[in-house]
């Protein structure tokens, strides 16, 4: 059976570019905080939607799979950790540093792990989730490259616990920010890899992020009645607008299945056709750099 089904996502005529407003205005922050406690989306809906965003370790895994050479300058400087002055920025940074940490782990760069553990400790302490990390154990593990698998397991477990904690406190929006932060950092890395070595695989990887930005927008639409999320969504507008013109179509074929030792091995045979032009790639590159600078470096 073969069926062609196209995804057409209507182009949204979104105006405006990334806002350059500082998060450090205390009055705004207090107002935002009060509003955040009034997030009207049901916990169940937010919980379900959060699952449509990739976790930091998944993003780091995809970057490592691209087989590009390791580059430390792709990472958010660890020293920036203290600059994130409110919990929104800290949650975004936790996601960004989470990808960086995964990237270091998956590339066996234990030499840099300690400074990034410190960065994670700083932002997580301000977010009051540092109790979920066993930093001394992680520092010990980081001293030996043989422990990389354990470090990855522990890091993933910690991020899952933080996510559960935020959701149990009805602050699933902060979990969203962690995932948004990790996605921004991931797309920035894909872009830098593409600039160095533009393979079709990495181009497709950038193009298919349309799925994720659409999911992200769907969540931000639900919580944009909170001023902070309205501003955040505005910052994504320009990038979203570029992605609206990227076309993805799918051709479905029956998956191949076989049973091995009681396990069902399923090979998905769906074909994906991604139409992305060089101009769109350039525009994505410009916008993701602006966005990342705005979120992590300013």
């Amino acid at each position: 059976m073969k069926k062609l089904f196209l995804i057409f996502i209507p182009g949204l005529l979104l105006s405006g570019c990334g806002s350059s407003e500082s998060f450090e205005d205390k009055e705004i922050l207090e107002k935002v905080d009060k509003q955040a406690s009034k997030i009207s989306v049901s916990k169940e809906v937010l919980d379900e939607m959060i699952q449509t965003l990739p976790s930091p370790i998944e993003t780091a895994n995809l970057i490592t799979k691209s087989k590009s050479s390791f580059k430390k300058d792709l990472l958010i400087p660890a020293g920036n950790a203290e600059k994130f002055s409110d919990k929104y920025g800290q949650a975004l940074a936790l996601g960004g540093y989470g990808v960086d940490m995964g990237y270091l782990n998956l590339n066996d760069k234990t030499i840099y792990i300690i400074e990034y553990l410190d960065a994670i400790r700083t932002v997580s302490k301000d977010l009051k989730v540092d109790a979920f990390f066993n930093f001394s154990l992680m520092s010990d593990l980081a001293k030996n490259r043989k422990n990389v698998d354990s470090l990855i397991h522990i890091s993933t477990e910690n991020f899952n616990k933080i996510d559960e904690h935020f959701r149990s406190q009805s602050r699933g929006d902060l979990s969203v920010l962690i995932l948004v932060g990790s996605w921004v950092e991931g797309l920035y890395m894909f872009d830098k890899i593409a600039l160095e070595n533009k393979t079709q695989d990495i181009v497709n990887r950038i193009g298919e992020q349309k799925v994720i930005i659409d999911n992200m927008y769907a969540i931000l639409n639900k919580i944009e009645h909170v001023e902070y999320y309205k501003q955040l969504k505005t910052k994504f507008d320009a990038l979203k607008k570029v992605y609206d013109d990227v076309k993805i179509s799918y051709v479905y074929h029956e998956p191949k299945m076989k049973e091995v030792n009681g396990e069902l091995i399923v090979e998905d045979n769906t074909e994906t056709i991604i139409n992305i032009t060089d101009e769109q790639l350039k525009a994505i590159s410009i916008e993701i750099n602006k966005l990342r600078n705005n979120l992590f470096l300013n």
Binding site: Q51, N61, L106, Y250, L264, V266, D268
Partner: protein, 161 residues
Amino acid sequence: MKNNIYPRLKKFMIIITSFVIFYSAMSFNTMKKKECNSEQLLSKGFDRLKKYSLIKGYPFSFNEKKKNKPVEYLKQIVTLNRGVKYKFFAVPNDDFEGQPVITIHNNEKQEFLLATTYNFNFKKFYDEINFECKTTGNYCLSFSFLDGKEGCAVGIMAFLE
């Protein structure tokens, strides 16, 4: 006459007390049996991962379905990435009768069934699904219990590093 009442009353009280103790013990056992601790199940699932990294555990539990009612299920949209090998399996609480079933459909509308831990044609269970994803996109997972039996389990989603 009055003398006969006390032994009878005593006997009656012993019977009543025995009943109370018996039913209390029964209900305690039932409560204990019905306990659905997802933390323990998740921990068991973690031990089965080997080279895979946990993405998420999905606790799910349902009461036995009523006659003429559809089987209840937990539906979850997730995004899977092209080129990644995913593993899905369920860790059931064996105190419950329900045998967990996980299915994967291609999108939110559940147009095509891509994989399931239970083959309805052959009435066969698979321990887990290893899914090699070729298309980045939204997929629909569903978690239920075979024939709508009462059950308690955690669904595990993991990826190969």
